[in-house]
């Protein structure tokens, strides 16, 4: 009987105080504790982080790249969501 596949975990690191955690990659590990240790060893050997988040890879709900246009293309025509769409004279200062 073969050993069950080791689960995959996604690793997120906060690089500086106040910043959000950013995805940096994945690790294989048997459980959360080992995943945390592996993430520390693999991704923070040069002071890259202050905090690590580990998430089971199968808990990630990802959008389908094939839906890219359906999901994001409609915002392209909505230029009125941007400040530059509006005319404000320079004299009144930054707004």
């Amino acid at each position: 009987m073969s050993t069950p596949a080791t689960p995959l975990w996604e690793v997120f690191i906060r690089s500086r105080s106040g910043l959000a955690h950013r995805h940096v990659g994945s690790v294989h590990a048997a459980d959360a504790t080992l995943a945390m240790q592996a993430a520390r060893d693999v991704y923070t050997r040069r002071g890259e982080g202050l905090s690590v988040w580990i998430v089971p890879s199968n808990a990630i709900i990802a959008s389908d790249p094939a839906d890219k246009e359906m999901m994001f293309e409609p915002t392209a025509s909505k230029i009125y969501r941007h400040p530059t769409f509006y005319e404000v004279p320079d004299e009144v200062g930054h707004m």
């Binding site: 106040g18 969501r81 769409f85 509006y86 005319e87 404000v88 707004m95």
Partner: protein, 331 residues
């Protein structure tokens, strides 16, 4: 992840405890506090109250402007207003989520609003009588909100600070679309310009009140400053707002409804006349012109959405049951 249990150990934490000292030292060093870090219960309570009130303000703030979406004078204005109101809804969601990292539940926070127990910005209890009010709100109300929110981007609580960075990026368009409306009206017919003046007359004082009571009467300032939730005093922010806004109003050719307003030649600051704090207290206490109407609209929306929440929960439960019965079939 953000379980309250992690931090709940010591609710009565005296300021002298080693944790409290370490906490304050971190804040003094401009370190950010994150949800799972140790924090005094009073810090947590203060933030839940402030962030949820901020969230409620964004949500209730959709109502006065929503009032004009169907009556916007052009498709351009309508698209812009729709996008702005949609943004405000998004701001409310970012903020509720930030409050939830502190262990508050969304349901609890929304219930407090609907029960009339939670405060929100007094400005949204004023009516939007004409189209010019939409211009005045974008220019002045969003302008005041930006003044308040920029320093909050450096607030000591990480999730609140990060939400504010996102919000501030989106606010710029709000203020500019408002100013553009004012500019168009002021370059228009005398009746249109009079409409813009009337809107400024009605919104100016309530906007100054948005910064809260004068420093001499503010209850929360000292601790909030020590905790770096707040960076400037109410009066300090109010002054920044006035200094930025008066030249913009003068450029429009409008007059501010304050006979005592004048520029101090020595400091360059615009000084204002006495603010009617009795009106402020009355409006905050729910005496505003539209207070009952605003809450009624929120309750109606909440009740009307009940079937959607129920249907979504039932559907999710059904899918979970189906998958549990046969894990090999993708739900």
């Amino acid at each position: 992840m953000y379980s309250q249990g992690l931090n709940q150990s010591d609710p009565s934490s005296a300021h002298t405890s080693p944790e409290a000292a370490r906490f304050q030292a971190r804040i003094d060093a401009e370190d950010k506090i994150e949800p799972n870090d140790w924090m005094p219960e009073a810090y947590r309570r203060t933030l839940i109250r402030q962030i949820s009130q901020h969230a409620h303000s964004e949500i209730v703030g959709m109502l006065p402007e929503g009032n004009w979406i169907t009556r916007a004078p052009s498709l351009r204005r309508k698209a812009a207003l729709l996008a702005k109101v949609q943004d405000e809804g998004g701001h409310g969601l970012y903020l509720y989520a930030a409050a939830e990292t502190l262990g508050a539940s969304r349901e609890e926070l929304v219930d407090q609003l609907l029960a009339g127990k939670a405060k929100y910005s007094s400005i949204f209890n004023y009516p939007t009588l004409t189209w010019a009010d939409i211009g005045a709100i974008g220019w002045l109300v969003d302008g005041a909100a930006i003044m308040n929110q920029i320093p909050l981007c450096r607030c000591s609580f990480g999730p609140y600070a990060r939400a504010m960075i996102r919000v501030c990026k989106e606010e710029s368009f709000h203020q500019r679309q408002g100013y553009e409306i004012m500019l168009t009206l002021c370059r228009g017919t005398p009746a249109q310009k009079a409409m813009a003046q009337d809107a400024l007359d009605r919104w100016w004082w309530p906007c100054l009140m948005m910064f809260g009571p004068p420093d001499s009467a503010s209850q929360h300032s000292d601790t909030s400053m020590q905790w770096k939730i707040k960076r400037f005093t109410n009066d300090g922010l109010r002054q920044k707002f006035i200094d930025a806004t008066v030249p913009q109003g003068l450029h429009l050719g409008l007059a501010f409804p304050d006979p005592d307003m004048r520029q101090n030649a020595a400091t360059g600051h615009w000084e204002h006349g006495a603010i009617d704090w009795d009106e402020f207290k009355r409006v905050v206490a729910g005496g505003g012109f539209c207070a009952a109407e605003r809450l009624e609209a929120r309750r109606k929306a909440h009740d009307a959405g009940a079937w959607v929440r129920d249907a979504a929960a039932a559907h999710a439960a059904k899918r979970a049951a189906r998958q549990a019965a046969n894990p090999r079939i993708a739900a």
